[in-house]
Symmetry: C2
């Protein structure tokens, strides 16, 4: 029996994780949960999974939960996730929160030499260099990717040794606007940007998918998760999203991981690795019913998110944190109708141009770059 602390339980990944756990009752117990604004759902989750430790956003929610569940260890506020990650008992910390707020909790989990099932992009994007330094000092800790692409790469890497990798082939659906050109994107509406062709996801990540910023961030993440240089990471558009990613080895054999569009598969794998468990709710891929699988080059000129990320990654230090922060605020401005779709790229570009990257050797420096960028974007474009 493994114990799990799940941060971001009320989000899309969090709910999928609880569905996995609900169907593997003999294997997993939930000891920690966190939720941000969906108090009703979090309350139901606490009632069902009976964790001992729970983190919430505000004192008000904390107080109400205390009434319902008097024996809970409760945390609230800015450091609640980190405090829970430091105090709760768990074998696996599943960080499914989005935003830089997830980094501190991951750090706490690494310091306690736990397994981190990582579904928080920011951790490896903004703090990848720092996290890898930390991991090398805590050999009992390990990070398992939850994201379907990184899980696929992780799984495909078992086909050979690290120094035998020729290229990582990171697949991308291409997003809603695949095939469109820059001028077609000038007047994109929010509703148009929120329709993803294959995966059902949250708003922020659906927009990131349509700008290819998401794929760019995944490139940075892959760089740090697998310690593979950028020139060996290639993005390939694969609209059917069945091949979740591939690894080409130097003997030109390619190992790929395929599966249905179901986040529950990589979530469970990150929890059960190195084992693979049957799960009654998982469906096999029906190859006969599948659409033909196709692959294309990404249109890097139209979807500049990819090259901006490669550039941020190569510059390194605090630059990926700045790129990520600028994008996060820009997408939020777009979703609030403050800026156009294409302005997302311009904002990222300008935020990067005005930033001189510093070494990302401590969390304070990274979070400062993140915060400063957010403030600048908000101040400059919110009006």
């Amino acid at each position: 029996m493994k114990t799990i602390a799940l941060l971001g339980a009320t989000g899309s990944i969090g709910e999928s994780a609880l569905t996995v756990i609900r169907n593997q009752k003999e294997k997993f117990t939930v000891t920690g949960l966190s939720g941000y604004s969906n108090e009703a759902l979090l309350t139901r989750q606490i009632a069902e999974f009976r964790p001992s430790h729970v983190a919430v956003s505000t004192k008000e929610i904390r107080d109400r939960l205390r009434e319902t569940f008097p024996f809970l260890h409760l945390y609230y506020g800015e450091n609640a996730l980190t405090e829970l990650a430091e105090a709760a008992p768990y074998d696996i910390l599943l960080t499914a929160v989005s935003g830089a707020v997830g980094i501190g909790a991951t750090v706490a989990g690494i310091q306690r030499e736990k397994r981190i099932a990582l579904a928080n992009k920011e951790t490896m994007v903004a703090a990848g260099e720092y996290i890898n330094g930390l991991l090398s000092r805590h050999p009992g800790a390990e990070i398992l990717p939850v994201d379907s692409e990184h899980s696929a790469i992780f799984q495909s890497l078992s086909g050979g040794a690290k120094d035998e990798v020729q290229r990582i082939l990171l697949t991308a659906s291409g997003g809603t606007f695949r095939g469109k050109k820059r001028k077609d994107l000038e007047n994109i509406t929010i509703d148009e940007a929120l329709t993803h062709p294959t995966w059902k996801m949250g708003k922020k990540i659906t927009v990131d998918s349509s700008t290819l910023v998401n794929k760019g961030l995944e490139v940075i993440e892959a760089r740090h998760l697998f310690q593979i240089p950028y020139e060996k990471i290639k993005v390939l558009i694969h609209p059917e999203s069945i091949v979740h990613s591939m690894v080409e080895y130097r003997d030109r054999c390619v190992i790929a991981q395929l599966g249905n569009h179901d986040m529950k598969l990589p979530i469970q794998y990150a929890l059960t690795y190195p084992q693979r468990l049957a799960n009654p709710i998982f469906e096999g891929l029906d190859f006969v019913k599948l659409k033909a699988l196709t692959f294309e080059e990404p249109d890097r000129e139209t979807f500049r998110g990819l090259d901006l990320a490669y550039e941020a990654g190569r510059l390194g230090g605090t630059m990926p944190a700045v790129m990520n922060a600028a994008n996060e605020v820009a997408v939020s401005l777009f979703l609030r109708r403050k800026i156009s779709f294409l302005a997302i790229y311009d904002i990222i570009e300008k935020a990067m141009a005005r930033h001189s990257p510093q070494e990302a050797s401590d969390l304070g420096t990274i979070l400062m770059a993140d915060k400063e960028t957010r403030a600048w974007v908000n101040k400059t474009y919110e009006n």
Copy 2:
């Protein structure tokens, strides 16, 4: 530096193997070679690779080679391959001969606890149960598959444990006549049967590919190579032959191996495993130029080769040897215009119907069933 004895050097796989070795000179030396009828090519190969041991078909060839290469250890006749496999120094025995004649050599290699790079289908089809018994008594020996499909399965199996395998998905191009119905196949000519859509291969295997007997034999081979029951081996038609096979695990993740249509890749992998080596003559798969990848159910009614093989495999004992022998003679009769294309199935079926399978616990019993079947098919249909 590893030493290699290559049986069947003048065939298609043999030549590819020598091309691999020629480009990995620091890694491999050829110590043994065998050829059947192409004396000129074998002579050139001996001159280039300088093996110490060579096996040939006839005394005449032996005598001529002795003149040219006086210091060679030479073998000829029915047992020449086995004698070479028993006497030559080698780390790896690559058996690329076709027919039951390859079994004895493999047995010798296993008894000497060597690595067998196996490109001889008959070994695992006709003698799989026997070979597995032998392997369990010789733990230093190992069989590495050379066939592209089995190599792909072998590579994909590194993604999980044996008891976590849900299904092996063995892909098949579907052969020349994919999409045709039984009545379309009544008057197939030899030339029509010898045009394979994706792989360039010898005549026998091209016909076997068009009847799906080849794929059926591969099912039996996979059963014994990987010790996976028949109900877990599924054949999937994949006309583009890019996904060389896949393994579905019980958590519904699928691991696949992909690559160009180049036998040199799996040949090299069988030689270098567990390492993967770069090779200047290997080309990477260009996913962008690739045709769309598609998958279909095989048409088992028209292409009865598949079900005949499953039946032979499930009956077990000497039955797969009989099925294989009947097919081999039937294809040879078809290539000599003695029988029609569809008669290949009838001959296999009749040969199986008249045979009572015996336990395949020794090579003598297996070879007797093989010999008896060949004699019966020849006697009955050669006229």
